[in-house]
């Protein structure tokens, strides 16, 4: 600190931050039960809150063809009753201890979590086990859950961003396991039965594929004993996740999804990127900060600040077990559609062309990633979700400790080379959901070849 009593502060320049204070990810203790269930715990003395998170390494990529949405529907059915508890009864039991229950599904995993006050930890873990290991999966509940999921799909048809996300995955991946959103589609939901859900649970949601993560003021031995009791009777290994499927050949460069009268166009621009275990992971994370990963990124400064086309534009690598999508996402005013596509494609292409990543902008991106890193590990649920990344992608124990130094080792040359290796401007696909009549005539000026026109309800 530079202050002295009675001396006015110096407003001629911004104060420099002092030396960084050390951050350490709390240690994780690990055990494996006889059933194959891994039990991890992070002890946080004096924390009044405990989170239990059960990770199942199986997600929507395991949906059988024609039954897209099965993993998500099964995940959704888990809390619809168990043993003597009805579908409502489960939630009354959770509410009686003030617990918050949540399920998430992605392409590679299902996560079910319960957060509660620490003093009711045994009951909240018991309920999590009832839900995941012993769900009722009754036909009557299935019919209702499926109907609600169908209503949700209907509602999403009115949401151009959701339509764009869904069709963009399909464009990039075709019939590959990543080619559909976890929710599936109307036809696959209609084809699904209660038997499919029960079979999926019996085959895939097994302790051998699962890790229980506990974060709270709770000793590891006690967590293990509680878990052994709560999950007693749950057994079985799960099939190995699918290996890499063939990707479709080069998708169309330009896809238009007409939406008459839309005031804005939803744009998705991208291609299939690398998997989570790419050695270029840290370089790409840093490079993406420069391209479109933060407010002061090239893409946002161009599309929002310089041109005023949008409220915000971003790019992201969606790192998954298998090669995941890289995409630029933005919603722009309709009359700016063509210009925005041109600018966005230009920004991506420029990285390996005339404007390689420079030291100042990289330093800014690196600083944003590293200097505030500790704030990602405050709440019990944040720590549980961080530990989940280790379990899901089988990352080393020191992954979080090493994150900051490894990001700081990324140089402008390394970042630029990594982008050049994984993002090929000639392979980028552009998808537009918008009022095509208002920009159709100008599409050829983009030089992306003939546009494929998809109806919004395809797939």
């Amino acid at each position: 600190m530079t202050l002295q009593a009675g001396v006015p502060v110096d407003r001629s320049r911004l104060p420099e931050p002092g030396p960084a204070r050390l951050f350490r990810f709390p240690p994780i203790e690990r055990s494996v039960l006889d059933s194959g269930l891994s039990v991890w715990s992070v002890t946080r003395p004096r924390s009044p809150v405990v989170t239990f998170l059960l990770l199942v390494r199986c997600g929507s990529a395991a949906d059988p063809p024609g039954l897209e949405g099965l993993a998500a529907t099964t995940a959704d059915m888990l809390d619809e009753g168990s043993g003597a508890l009805s579908a409502i009864g489960i939630h009354e039991a959770l509410a009686r201890i003030g617990a918050q229950f949540d399920t998430d599904i992605g392409s590679d995993a299902i996560a079910a979590s319960v957060t509660s006050l620490g003093r009711v930890a045994d009951r909240s873990l018991g309920l999590l086990a009832d839900i995941v290991a012993r769900p009722a999966l009754a036909d009557a509940d299935f019919a209702r859950v499926r109907e609600l999921r169908q209503h949700r799909l209907t509602q999403l048809r009115g949401n151009p961003g959701a339509v764009a996300d869904r069709l963009f995955l399909r464009t990039l991946y075709g019939a590959h396991p990543y080619g559909h959103a976890p929710g599936g589609g109307e036809a696959s939901l209609a084809a699904m039965t209660g038997d499919d859900v029960r079979r999926f649970h019996a085959r895939q949601i097994r302790p051998g594929a699962s890790t229980l993560i506990a974060v709270g003021d709770c000793a590891h031995d006690r967590i293990v004993a509680l878990a052994r009791a709560a999950f007693a009777g749950w057994d079985g290994a799960a099939p190995d996740p699918a290996g890499p499927d063939a990707l479709p050949p080069q998708p169309a460069r330009l896809t238009i999804v007409p939406r008459a009268g839309a005031p804005q166009s939803e744009l998705r621009i991208g291609e299939v990127g690398p998997p989570r275990d790419t050695p270029d992971y840290h370089a790409l994370v840093a490079a993406n900060m420069v391209l479109g990963g933060q407010f002061v990124s090239r893409v946002n400064l161009n599309l929002r600040e310089r041109h005023g086309f949008t409220y915000g534009a971003r790019t992201a690598f969606d790192f998954r077990r298998l090669p995941g999508p890289f995409s630029l996402q933005v919603s722009v005013q309709t009359d700016a559609t063509i210009a925005a596509i041109r600018e966005a494609l230009g920004e991506i292409a420029d990285v390996r062309g005339p404007r390689p990543i420079g030291p100042a902008e990289l330093a800014l991106g690196v600083a944003a990633l590293t200097r505030g890193y500790a704030r990602n590990f405050e709440a019990a649920e944040q720590i549980a979700r961080a530990a989940m990344q280790l379990a899901l992608f089988r990352l080393p124990d020191d992954y979080f400790e090493q994150f900051v130094p490894r990001i700081e080792q990324v140089t402008p040359e390394i970042a630029t080379a990594a982008m050049a290796r994984h993002v090929d401007p000639a392979r980028l696909s552009t998808l537009v959901v918008g009022d095509a009549d208002r920009f159709h005539d100008a599409l050829p000026s983009l030089d992306l070849g003939p546009a494929v026109v998809l109806p919004p309800d395809s797939f």
């Binding site: 931050p17 204070r21 003030g98 800014l364 405050e378 709440a379």
Partner: protein, 403 residues
């Protein structure tokens, strides 16, 4: 709740609250201005939210965007505006606390010298697609209007600064004093008073580009922390929060005529409003939903909640408090909550009293408050239907005009 803090009022009237928590090497800076859309006058709306944008565009001694230096130092930052207040916050690595205080104080004390016509025009233009405020008002506004608004509301006497996290309390207070105490206070702001009431039922209708119709029912209710506020908060939960709620059970689970339903008591400084929202399942009208909602409100008001509901409501309130207080910054973290209590009650340590309100709710108090406030002939019923499907709206609804 154990949330130790200190509070000092600087010579210029600014409250500085400090809470120590060394679990993570980060610090939260949270600044509330006691100004929101309630302080605006007809014909001059949208100013508070306009400032939320202008405050990120630079100040006299740093006349550039605020994101770059703060994000570069590892901060997250944001701001928000509601009817009652505007808040600005940064969560910084603990070593960048001074940077955040430098910048927050510069835009409190020295915003106007940097507020040029050009900047004003640019942010006003952005407004065409931000929905807060009347676009016409913002178009009519002149630079001196918004300067006057700033001078009246954005000064130390109308603000509260909260610092939480990995800080040394004495050093943090010294920093806050050094940066903020020289700022000249404005005149005290008189509290806004207004009565809100509705003498009849208002039914309005809006056609939009949606797939399923949605019904919003809304009643005037007591203000934040006023008698009845906690009762209605719990009543909203019992009616429509989650799968155990009465309306979820009937509309979604049993009769399956709705895709979703939710309710909340929205507590505000001058008055509250309780809102029930339900989306019809395909093939069902909003009148069907309205009938069931009416029946369940009546049943809860007449029969009162069950002992189990009351117990669940109390422990859920307690748990939610604990969940919110796991983070030092951001919306709803410890620094924000300390400021909320300080601004609205004058006591940053109001946690236990707040929780006590929920512990004090009884079946009869809840019934009584519901019967007084949730009257069918004193509410707004808004039907939003897919274009061309006005038949799905509540009968007798008047088309609304949206600018």
């Amino acid at each position: 709740m154990n949330l130790p803090f200190t509070r000092h009022t600087l010579a210029n009237g600014l409250d500085v609250i400090v809470h120590e928590d060394h679990a993570c090497p980060i610090a939260a800076v949270n600044l509330w201005y006691h100004v929101g859309s309630k302080n605006e006058t007809p014909g001059r709306t949208g100013f508070a939210h306009l400032f939320e944008h202008l405050m990120f565009e630079g100040s006299q001694h740093y006349d550039h965007g605020y994101f770059q230096p703060l994000q570069g130092a590892g901060a997250t930052l944001n701001g928000s505006t509601n009817a009652d207040r505007t808040n600005y916050w940064e969560v910084v690595p603990a070593n960048a606390l001074e940077l955040a205080l430098w910048m927050e104080s510069d835009r409190m004390g020295f915003l106007l010298p940097a507020l040029t016509e050009a900047k004003f025009e640019n942010q006003r233009a952005v407004y065409h697609w931000v929905t807060i405020g009347e676009p016409a008002d913002l178009e009519a506004a002149r630079l001196d209007d918004v300067q006057a608004f700033f001078q009246r509301y954005y000064h130390p006497r109308n603000a509260s600064l909260s610092l939480a996290g990995d800080v040394d309390p004495d050093a943090a207070l010294a920093l806050a004093r050094a940066y903020f105490e020289p700022i000249v206070p404005g005149e005290p702001v008189d509290p806004v008073t207004a009565e809100a009431s509705l003498g009849r039922e208002v039914r309005v209708l809006l056609e939009d580009r949606i797939e399923l119709p949605r019904l919003y029912l809304c009643w005037h209710t007591p203000a934040m922390f006023a008698p009845g506020d906690a009762d209605l908060d719990l009543a909203a939960d019992f009616l429509a929060n989650g799968k155990t709620s009465r309306l979820y059970r009937r509309l979604v689970f049993e009769e399956r005529i709705a895709a979703d339903v939710s309710a909340s008591q929205n507590s505000r400084e001058l008055a509250g409003f309780l809102q029930v929202t339900a989306t019809a399942a395909p093939g069902h009208t909003l009148a069907e939903l309205e009938r069931v909602i009416g029946e369940e409100i009546e049943r809860l008001a007449d029969g009162g909640p069950t002992a189990d509901e009351i117990e669940r409501g109390r422990i859920t309130a307690e748990a939610q408090f604990a969940f919110r207080l796991q983070t030092v910054g951001g919306f709803g973290g410890k620094s924000d909550q300390l400021n909320a209590y300080n601004v609205f009650t004058g006591n940053p340590g109001y946690f236990d009293k707040d929780l006590e309100r929920y512990r004090g709710v009884t079946p009869s108090s809840l019934s009584d408050v519901m019967r007084r406030h949730l009257l069918t002939d004193r509410r707004v019923a808004l039907s939003i239907v897919p274009a061309g499907r006005t038949d799905l709206a509540l009968p007798g609804s008047i088309p609304a005009v949206v600018s």
